[in-house]
Protein backbone atom coordinates (compact mmCIF):
# COMPACT_ATOMS: atom_id res chain seq x y z
CA UNK A 1 0.00 0.00 0.00
CA UNK A 2 2.05 2.85 -1.34
CA UNK A 3 0.76 6.07 0.11
CA UNK A 4 2.11 9.42 1.19
CA UNK A 5 1.42 8.60 4.83
CA UNK A 6 3.39 5.39 4.67
CA UNK A 7 6.35 7.02 2.92
CA UNK A 8 6.57 9.78 5.50
CA UNK A 9 6.19 7.22 8.30
CA UNK A 10 9.12 5.19 6.98
CA UNK A 11 11.30 8.31 6.72
CA UNK A 12 10.54 9.20 10.35
CA UNK A 13 10.27 5.75 11.88
CA UNK A 14 13.60 4.30 10.79
CA UNK A 15 15.82 6.93 12.47
CA UNK A 16 13.57 6.90 15.55
CA UNK A 17 13.71 3.11 15.70
CA UNK A 18 17.50 3.28 15.92
CA UNK A 19 17.16 5.24 19.16
CA UNK A 20 15.19 2.30 20.60
CA UNK A 21 18.44 0.34 20.56
CA UNK A 22 20.35 3.09 22.33
CA UNK A 23 17.78 4.25 24.92
CA UNK A 24 17.03 2.30 28.06
CA UNK A 25 14.08 1.91 30.43
CA UNK A 26 11.52 4.72 30.49
CA UNK A 27 13.12 6.71 27.62
CA UNK A 28 12.86 3.68 25.37
CA UNK A 29 9.21 3.22 26.27
CA UNK A 30 8.44 6.87 25.50
CA UNK A 31 10.13 6.58 22.10
CA UNK A 32 8.25 3.34 21.39
CA UNK A 33 4.93 5.01 22.14
CA UNK A 34 5.81 7.95 19.91
CA UNK A 35 6.45 5.46 17.10
CA UNK A 36 3.24 3.56 17.84
CA UNK A 37 1.31 6.85 17.60
CA UNK A 38 2.80 7.47 14.17
CA UNK A 39 1.98 3.93 13.09
CA UNK A 40 -1.60 4.32 14.27
CA UNK A 41 -1.86 7.45 12.14
CA UNK A 42 -0.93 5.43 9.03
CA UNK A 43 -3.30 2.64 10.05
CA UNK A 44 -6.27 4.93 10.70
CA UNK A 45 -5.52 6.84 7.48
CA UNK A 46 -5.89 3.62 5.52
CA UNK A 47 -9.16 2.76 7.31
CA UNK A 48 -10.54 6.25 6.66
CA UNK A 49 -9.59 5.94 2.99
CA UNK A 50 -11.30 2.56 2.77
CA UNK A 51 -14.49 3.88 4.39
CA UNK A 52 -14.46 6.90 2.04
CA UNK A 53 -14.21 4.66 -1.03
CA UNK A 54 -16.73 2.03 0.10
CA UNK A 55 -19.39 4.18 1.75
CA UNK A 56 -19.65 7.10 -0.66
CA UNK A 57 -19.75 9.67 2.18
CA UNK A 58 -18.32 13.09 1.43
CA UNK A 59 -15.05 14.17 3.05
CA UNK A 60 -16.74 16.58 5.47
CA UNK A 61 -19.07 13.84 6.82
CA UNK A 62 -16.06 11.54 7.13
CA UNK A 63 -14.00 14.18 8.97
CA UNK A 64 -16.80 14.92 11.45
CA UNK A 65 -18.41 11.52 12.10
CA UNK A 66 -16.12 8.68 11.01
CA UNK A 67 -12.51 9.89 11.38
CA UNK A 68 -12.80 10.75 15.13
CA UNK A 69 -14.30 7.31 15.77
CA UNK A 70 -11.56 5.47 13.88
CA UNK A 71 -8.66 7.59 15.11
CA UNK A 72 -9.53 7.56 18.80
CA UNK A 73 -10.00 3.78 18.80
CA UNK A 74 -6.68 3.17 17.01
CA UNK A 75 -4.87 5.59 19.35
CA UNK A 76 -6.32 3.81 22.38
CA UNK A 77 -5.02 0.39 21.25
CA UNK A 78 -1.38 0.82 22.41
CA UNK A 79 -2.63 2.22 25.76
CA UNK A 80 -5.00 -0.72 26.30
CA UNK A 81 -2.18 -3.09 25.45
CA UNK A 82 0.30 -1.59 27.92
CA UNK A 83 -2.36 -1.10 30.61
CA UNK A 84 -3.10 -4.82 30.65
CA UNK A 85 0.49 -5.95 30.12
CA UNK A 86 2.43 -4.08 32.81
CA UNK A 87 -0.23 -2.04 34.69
CA UNK A 88 1.87 1.13 34.80
CA UNK A 89 1.48 3.93 37.34
CA UNK A 90 -0.84 6.89 36.73
CA UNK A 91 2.07 9.18 35.79
CA UNK A 92 3.57 6.65 33.36
CA UNK A 93 0.29 5.85 31.60
CA UNK A 94 -0.34 9.59 31.21
CA UNK A 95 3.11 10.03 29.62
CA UNK A 96 2.64 7.03 27.30
CA UNK A 97 -0.81 8.25 26.26
CA UNK A 98 0.52 11.74 25.56
CA UNK A 99 3.36 10.33 23.42
CA UNK A 100 0.89 8.28 21.33
CA UNK A 101 -1.17 11.42 20.73
CA UNK A 102 1.89 13.52 19.90
CA UNK A 103 3.26 10.86 17.50
CA UNK A 104 -0.12 10.63 15.79
CA UNK A 105 -0.40 14.42 15.45
CA UNK A 106 3.18 14.75 14.17
CA UNK A 107 2.66 12.35 11.26
CA UNK A 108 -0.82 13.71 10.52
CA UNK A 109 0.49 17.28 10.36
CA UNK A 110 3.40 16.37 8.10
CA UNK A 111 1.15 14.41 5.71
CA UNK A 112 -1.48 17.14 5.54
CA UNK A 113 1.06 19.90 5.03
CA UNK A 114 2.99 17.97 2.36
CA UNK A 115 -0.33 17.19 0.62
CA UNK A 116 -1.44 20.83 0.71
CA UNK A 117 1.63 22.11 -1.10
CA UNK A 118 2.60 25.71 -0.31
CA UNK A 119 1.12 26.95 2.93
CA UNK A 120 1.64 30.00 5.09
CA UNK A 121 3.70 29.95 8.27
CA UNK A 122 0.68 31.13 10.27
CA UNK A 123 -1.49 28.23 9.06
CA UNK A 124 1.31 25.75 9.76
CA UNK A 125 1.73 27.15 13.28
CA UNK A 126 -2.01 27.05 13.92
CA UNK A 127 -2.32 23.54 12.57
CA UNK A 128 0.68 22.23 14.50
CA UNK A 129 -0.41 23.60 17.87
CA UNK A 130 -4.11 22.82 17.44
CA UNK A 131 -3.81 19.25 16.17
CA UNK A 132 -0.89 18.40 18.45
CA UNK A 133 -2.68 19.53 21.60
CA UNK A 134 -6.01 18.05 20.54
CA UNK A 135 -4.62 14.57 19.90
CA UNK A 136 -2.51 14.74 23.05
CA UNK A 137 -5.48 15.78 25.23
CA UNK A 138 -7.80 13.12 23.79
CA UNK A 139 -5.34 10.27 24.28
CA UNK A 140 -4.41 11.57 27.75
CA UNK A 141 -8.07 11.48 28.84
CA UNK A 142 -8.43 7.90 27.58
CA UNK A 143 -5.19 6.82 29.25
CA UNK A 144 -6.08 8.32 32.65
CA UNK A 145 -9.59 6.89 32.53
CA UNK A 146 -8.19 3.45 31.71
CA UNK A 147 -5.87 3.68 34.72
CA UNK A 148 -8.89 4.34 36.96
CA UNK A 149 -11.00 1.45 35.71
CA UNK A 150 -8.47 -1.31 34.93
CA UNK A 151 -9.30 -3.53 37.92
CA UNK A 152 -12.84 -4.74 37.14
CA UNK A 153 -14.09 -6.16 33.82
CA UNK A 154 -17.56 -4.60 33.68
CA UNK A 155 -16.26 -1.24 34.87
CA UNK A 156 -13.31 -1.40 32.45
CA UNK A 157 -15.52 -1.79 29.38
CA UNK A 158 -18.06 0.85 30.30
CA UNK A 159 -15.38 3.22 31.65
CA UNK A 160 -13.23 2.92 28.52
CA UNK A 161 -16.26 3.47 26.28
CA UNK A 162 -17.12 6.62 28.27
CA UNK A 163 -13.59 7.98 27.95
CA UNK A 164 -13.43 7.13 24.25
CA UNK A 165 -16.78 8.80 23.62
CA UNK A 166 -15.58 12.03 25.31
CA UNK A 167 -12.42 11.96 23.18
CA UNK A 168 -14.42 11.26 19.99
CA UNK A 169 -16.91 14.07 20.57
CA UNK A 170 -14.12 16.54 21.39
CA UNK A 171 -12.17 15.44 18.29
CA UNK A 172 -15.31 15.80 16.16
CA UNK A 173 -15.94 19.33 17.48
CA UNK A 174 -12.35 20.25 16.61
CA UNK A 175 -12.68 18.77 13.08
CA UNK A 176 -15.97 20.60 12.48
CA UNK A 177 -14.46 23.94 13.45
CA UNK A 178 -11.12 23.47 11.70
CA UNK A 179 -12.78 22.56 8.36
CA UNK A 180 -15.20 25.49 8.51
CA UNK A 181 -14.81 29.28 8.43
CA UNK A 182 -14.25 29.14 12.22
CA UNK A 183 -10.79 27.63 11.73
CA UNK A 184 -9.12 29.96 14.25
CA UNK A 185 -11.69 29.01 16.89
CA UNK A 186 -10.95 25.36 16.14
CA UNK A 187 -7.23 25.90 16.66
CA UNK A 188 -7.88 27.86 19.87
CA UNK A 189 -10.13 25.16 21.37
CA UNK A 190 -7.33 22.72 22.32
CA UNK A 191 -5.09 25.60 23.43
CA UNK A 192 -7.80 26.87 25.80
CA UNK A 193 -8.54 23.33 27.03
CA UNK A 194 -4.85 22.63 27.65
CA UNK A 195 -4.41 25.95 29.47
CA UNK A 196 -7.43 25.23 31.70
CA UNK A 197 -6.14 21.71 32.48
CA UNK A 198 -2.72 23.10 33.41
CA UNK A 199 -4.17 25.86 35.62
CA UNK A 200 -6.47 23.44 37.44
CA UNK A 201 -3.70 20.81 37.84
CA UNK A 202 -1.12 23.27 39.16
CA UNK A 203 -3.48 25.02 41.62
CA UNK A 204 -4.96 21.71 42.77
CA UNK A 205 -1.56 20.11 43.39
CA UNK A 206 -0.31 23.24 45.12
CA UNK A 207 -3.34 23.11 47.40
CA UNK A 208 -2.73 19.41 48.17
CA UNK A 209 0.98 19.90 48.93
CA UNK A 210 0.21 22.94 51.10
CA UNK A 211 -2.33 20.85 53.01
CA UNK A 212 0.23 18.02 53.40
CA UNK A 213 2.86 20.45 54.73
CA UNK A 214 0.30 21.84 57.14
CA UNK A 215 -0.53 18.32 58.40
CA UNK A 216 3.18 17.46 58.78
CA UNK A 217 3.91 20.63 60.75
CA UNK A 218 0.86 19.95 62.95
CA UNK A 219 2.10 16.45 63.79
CA UNK A 220 5.64 17.61 64.55
Amino acid sequence: MESLNLTIFICLAIPLSMTLLMFKGHSRMLCAFLLSGMFMCVFSGEINGLVLNVSGYDTQFLAVNIAPLVEEITKALPIIFIAFLIKPSRQKIAEFALMVGVGFATLENISLLVDSGTISLGYAFLRAIGAGMMHGICTLVVGLAMFSVIEEKMVFFSGTISALSIAMIYHSIYNMLITSKYMVLGALLPIITFTLIMIVSVTHFRKISAQKNKDISKNT
Binding site: Q60, F61, V64, N65, P68, L69, S148, V149, E152, M154, V155, S158, G159, I161, S162, A163, L164, S165, I166, M168, I169, Y170, S172, I173, M176, L177, T179, S180, Y182, V200, H204
Partner: protein, 218 residues
Protein backbone atom coordinates in the same frame (compact mmCIF):
# COMPACT_ATOMS: atom_id res chain seq x y z
CA UNK B 1 -32.94 29.06 15.02
CA UNK B 2 -35.16 27.14 17.51
CA UNK B 3 -32.56 24.34 17.47
CA UNK B 4 -29.78 26.75 18.44
CA UNK B 5 -31.91 28.41 21.11
CA UNK B 6 -33.01 25.24 22.90
CA UNK B 7 -29.65 23.53 22.55
CA UNK B 8 -27.85 26.64 23.86
CA UNK B 9 -30.13 26.71 26.90
CA UNK B 10 -29.53 22.97 27.49
CA UNK B 11 -25.78 23.44 27.02
CA UNK B 12 -25.69 26.46 29.34
CA UNK B 13 -27.52 24.64 32.15
CA UNK B 14 -25.41 21.49 31.87
CA UNK B 15 -22.14 23.48 31.58
CA UNK B 16 -22.87 25.45 34.76
CA UNK B 17 -23.83 22.20 36.49
CA UNK B 18 -20.64 20.48 35.34
CA UNK B 19 -18.34 23.36 36.37
CA UNK B 20 -20.06 23.48 39.77
CA UNK B 21 -19.73 19.71 40.14
CA UNK B 22 -16.09 19.78 39.02
CA UNK B 23 -15.05 22.26 41.70
CA UNK B 24 -17.27 20.96 44.53
CA UNK B 25 -17.12 17.20 43.90
CA UNK B 26 -14.09 16.42 41.75
CA UNK B 27 -11.53 18.68 43.40
CA UNK B 28 -12.78 18.09 46.93
CA UNK B 29 -11.58 14.46 47.17
CA UNK B 30 -15.05 12.88 47.03
CA UNK B 31 -15.63 9.13 46.51
CA UNK B 32 -15.37 7.84 42.94
CA UNK B 33 -19.13 7.24 42.74
CA UNK B 34 -19.94 10.96 42.89
CA UNK B 35 -17.03 11.90 40.61
CA UNK B 36 -18.34 9.51 37.95
CA UNK B 37 -21.82 11.05 38.23
CA UNK B 38 -20.29 14.47 37.51
CA UNK B 39 -18.28 12.93 34.62
CA UNK B 40 -21.53 11.69 33.08
CA UNK B 41 -22.87 15.25 33.20
CA UNK B 42 -19.61 16.41 31.57
CA UNK B 43 -20.12 13.91 28.77
CA UNK B 44 -23.65 15.17 28.25
CA UNK B 45 -22.39 18.80 28.18
CA UNK B 46 -19.83 17.96 25.51
CA UNK B 47 -22.51 16.25 23.44
CA UNK B 48 -24.71 19.38 23.64
CA UNK B 49 -21.73 21.51 22.54
CA UNK B 50 -21.35 19.21 19.55
CA UNK B 51 -24.97 19.82 18.53
CA UNK B 52 -24.47 23.61 18.75
CA UNK B 53 -21.20 23.55 16.76
CA UNK B 54 -22.85 21.22 14.21
CA UNK B 55 -25.77 23.65 13.79
CA UNK B 56 -23.39 26.62 13.41
CA UNK B 57 -21.04 24.88 10.95
CA UNK B 58 -23.96 23.42 8.99
CA UNK B 59 -22.73 19.84 8.73
CA UNK B 60 -25.33 17.38 7.43
CA UNK B 61 -25.60 13.99 9.11
CA UNK B 62 -27.59 11.28 7.35
CA UNK B 63 -27.63 7.77 8.76
CA UNK B 64 -25.08 8.14 11.51
CA UNK B 65 -24.07 10.99 13.76
CA UNK B 66 -21.25 10.87 16.27
CA UNK B 67 -23.66 12.56 18.70
CA UNK B 68 -25.02 9.06 19.41
CA UNK B 69 -21.55 8.11 20.66
CA UNK B 70 -21.82 10.96 23.16
CA UNK B 71 -25.14 9.64 24.43
CA UNK B 72 -23.64 6.12 24.70
CA UNK B 73 -20.75 7.63 26.67
CA UNK B 74 -23.10 9.42 29.05
CA UNK B 75 -25.09 6.26 29.79
CA UNK B 76 -21.89 4.17 30.06
CA UNK B 77 -20.56 6.61 32.67
CA UNK B 78 -23.76 6.19 34.69
CA UNK B 79 -23.29 2.43 34.34
CA UNK B 80 -19.66 2.66 35.51
CA UNK B 81 -20.74 4.84 38.44
CA UNK B 82 -23.52 2.58 39.63
CA UNK B 83 -21.71 -0.76 39.12
CA UNK B 84 -18.36 0.32 40.59
CA UNK B 85 -19.42 3.05 42.92
CA UNK B 86 -21.73 0.95 45.01
CA UNK B 87 -19.16 -1.80 45.64
CA UNK B 88 -16.59 0.90 46.33
CA UNK B 89 -18.72 2.56 48.98
CA UNK B 90 -20.16 -0.49 50.69
CA UNK B 91 -17.80 -3.34 49.88
CA UNK B 92 -18.61 -6.28 47.60
CA UNK B 93 -19.81 -8.60 50.39
CA UNK B 94 -22.21 -6.02 51.82
CA UNK B 95 -23.73 -5.40 48.41
CA UNK B 96 -24.07 -9.10 47.58
CA UNK B 97 -25.65 -9.99 50.91
CA UNK B 98 -28.05 -7.09 51.25
CA UNK B 99 -29.08 -6.06 47.74
CA UNK B 100 -31.42 -8.57 46.09
CA UNK B 101 -30.03 -9.73 42.75
CA UNK B 102 -33.10 -11.16 41.07
CA UNK B 103 -35.73 -8.65 42.15
CA UNK B 104 -33.63 -5.92 40.56
CA UNK B 105 -33.96 -7.63 37.14
CA UNK B 106 -37.41 -6.03 36.87
CA UNK B 107 -35.81 -2.71 35.92
CA UNK B 108 -33.86 -3.84 32.83
CA UNK B 109 -36.86 -5.93 31.74
CA UNK B 110 -39.18 -2.92 31.88
CA UNK B 111 -36.62 -0.64 30.18
CA UNK B 112 -36.01 -3.21 27.42
CA UNK B 113 -39.76 -3.70 26.88
CA UNK B 114 -40.43 0.04 26.65
CA UNK B 115 -37.51 0.40 24.27
CA UNK B 116 -38.74 -2.46 22.06
CA UNK B 117 -42.27 -1.03 22.04
CA UNK B 118 -40.93 2.44 21.26
CA UNK B 119 -38.76 1.05 18.47
CA UNK B 120 -41.77 -0.60 16.83
CA UNK B 121 -43.70 2.70 16.96
CA UNK B 122 -40.76 4.87 15.89
CA UNK B 123 -40.33 6.13 12.35
CA UNK B 124 -37.39 3.92 11.44
CA UNK B 125 -36.60 4.65 7.87
CA UNK B 126 -32.85 4.39 7.94
CA UNK B 127 -32.69 0.60 8.22
CA UNK B 128 -30.83 -2.00 10.24
CA UNK B 129 -27.67 0.06 10.75
CA UNK B 130 -29.62 2.76 12.55
CA UNK B 131 -31.43 0.17 14.70
CA UNK B 132 -28.06 -1.39 15.63
CA UNK B 133 -26.72 2.01 16.70
CA UNK B 134 -29.89 2.68 18.73
CA UNK B 135 -29.46 -0.64 20.53
CA UNK B 136 -25.89 0.36 21.40
CA UNK B 137 -27.25 3.60 22.83
CA UNK B 138 -29.85 1.91 25.00
CA UNK B 139 -27.84 -1.17 26.06
CA UNK B 140 -25.92 0.68 28.83
CA UNK B 141 -29.23 2.19 29.94
CA UNK B 142 -30.75 -1.30 30.25
CA UNK B 143 -27.71 -2.62 32.17
CA UNK B 144 -27.46 0.45 34.38
CA UNK B 145 -31.13 0.33 35.39
CA UNK B 146 -30.38 -3.05 37.04
CA UNK B 147 -27.66 -1.55 39.25
CA UNK B 148 -29.72 1.53 39.99
CA UNK B 149 -32.70 -0.54 41.16
CA UNK B 150 -30.44 -2.87 43.12
CA UNK B 151 -29.07 0.13 45.06
CA UNK B 152 -32.62 1.33 45.69
CA UNK B 153 -33.55 -2.06 47.16
CA UNK B 154 -30.70 -1.91 49.70
CA UNK B 155 -32.00 -1.60 53.27
CA UNK B 156 -31.29 1.85 54.72
CA UNK B 157 -29.47 0.78 57.94
CA UNK B 158 -27.20 3.12 59.85
CA UNK B 159 -25.07 4.29 56.92
CA UNK B 160 -26.25 7.77 56.01
CA UNK B 161 -24.58 7.88 52.62
CA UNK B 162 -27.12 5.37 51.31
CA UNK B 163 -29.70 8.15 51.49
CA UNK B 164 -27.90 10.30 48.94
CA UNK B 165 -27.05 7.32 46.70
CA UNK B 166 -30.71 6.34 46.61
CA UNK B 167 -31.77 9.85 45.61
CA UNK B 168 -29.19 9.79 42.79
CA UNK B 169 -30.47 6.38 41.65
CA UNK B 170 -34.03 7.72 41.52
CA UNK B 171 -32.89 10.76 39.52
CA UNK B 172 -30.99 8.64 36.98
CA UNK B 173 -33.94 6.25 36.58
CA UNK B 174 -36.26 9.24 36.04
CA UNK B 175 -33.83 10.49 33.35
CA UNK B 176 -34.09 7.13 31.61
CA UNK B 177 -37.88 7.13 31.81
CA UNK B 178 -37.91 10.65 30.32
CA UNK B 179 -35.61 9.56 27.46
CA UNK B 180 -37.72 6.51 26.69
CA UNK B 181 -40.99 8.46 26.95
CA UNK B 182 -39.58 11.03 24.56
CA UNK B 183 -38.79 8.23 22.14
CA UNK B 184 -42.31 6.83 22.43
CA UNK B 185 -44.03 10.21 22.04
CA UNK B 186 -41.98 11.59 19.20
CA UNK B 187 -41.16 8.36 17.31
CA UNK B 188 -37.46 9.32 17.30
CA UNK B 189 -38.15 12.80 15.95
CA UNK B 190 -36.42 15.69 17.62
CA UNK B 191 -38.26 17.22 20.53
CA UNK B 192 -36.03 20.13 21.49
CA UNK B 193 -37.61 20.92 24.84
CA UNK B 194 -36.64 17.40 26.04
CA UNK B 195 -32.97 18.38 25.76
CA UNK B 196 -33.63 21.24 28.18
CA UNK B 197 -35.51 18.88 30.51
CA UNK B 198 -32.57 16.42 30.38
CA UNK B 199 -30.14 19.25 31.15
CA UNK B 200 -32.19 20.24 34.21
CA UNK B 201 -32.12 16.58 35.28
CA UNK B 202 -28.33 16.56 34.91
CA UNK B 203 -28.08 19.71 37.04
CA UNK B 204 -30.14 18.03 39.78
CA UNK B 205 -27.82 15.01 39.63
CA UNK B 206 -24.80 17.28 40.24
CA UNK B 207 -26.49 19.04 43.18
CA UNK B 208 -27.44 15.72 44.79
CA UNK B 209 -23.93 14.36 44.11
CA UNK B 210 -22.43 17.27 46.02
CA UNK B 211 -24.81 16.76 48.95
CA UNK B 212 -24.04 13.05 48.88
CA UNK B 213 -20.30 13.71 48.94
CA UNK B 214 -20.72 16.04 51.95
CA UNK B 215 -22.78 13.41 53.82
CA UNK B 216 -20.10 10.81 53.05
CA UNK B 217 -17.35 13.06 54.45
CA UNK B 218 -19.38 13.82 57.56
Amino acid sequence: MPVLLFESIAFGISLIAFIYGFFTVYLSNSPMYFKLMVSAVGCYTLEELWVIVNAICGVENDTFSIRLIGIIGCYCTFLTASSRGLTNLLGKDAVNKKAPKYAALIAPLIVALIFAFGLSKAQIHQGLFFIAILMLVFLPMVLDSYFELRSLLLPMDEKKMLKSIKLLNILVLIQYVISLSYMLITGMNTLLVMDVVSAVGMALIVIVSRKGALIWKA
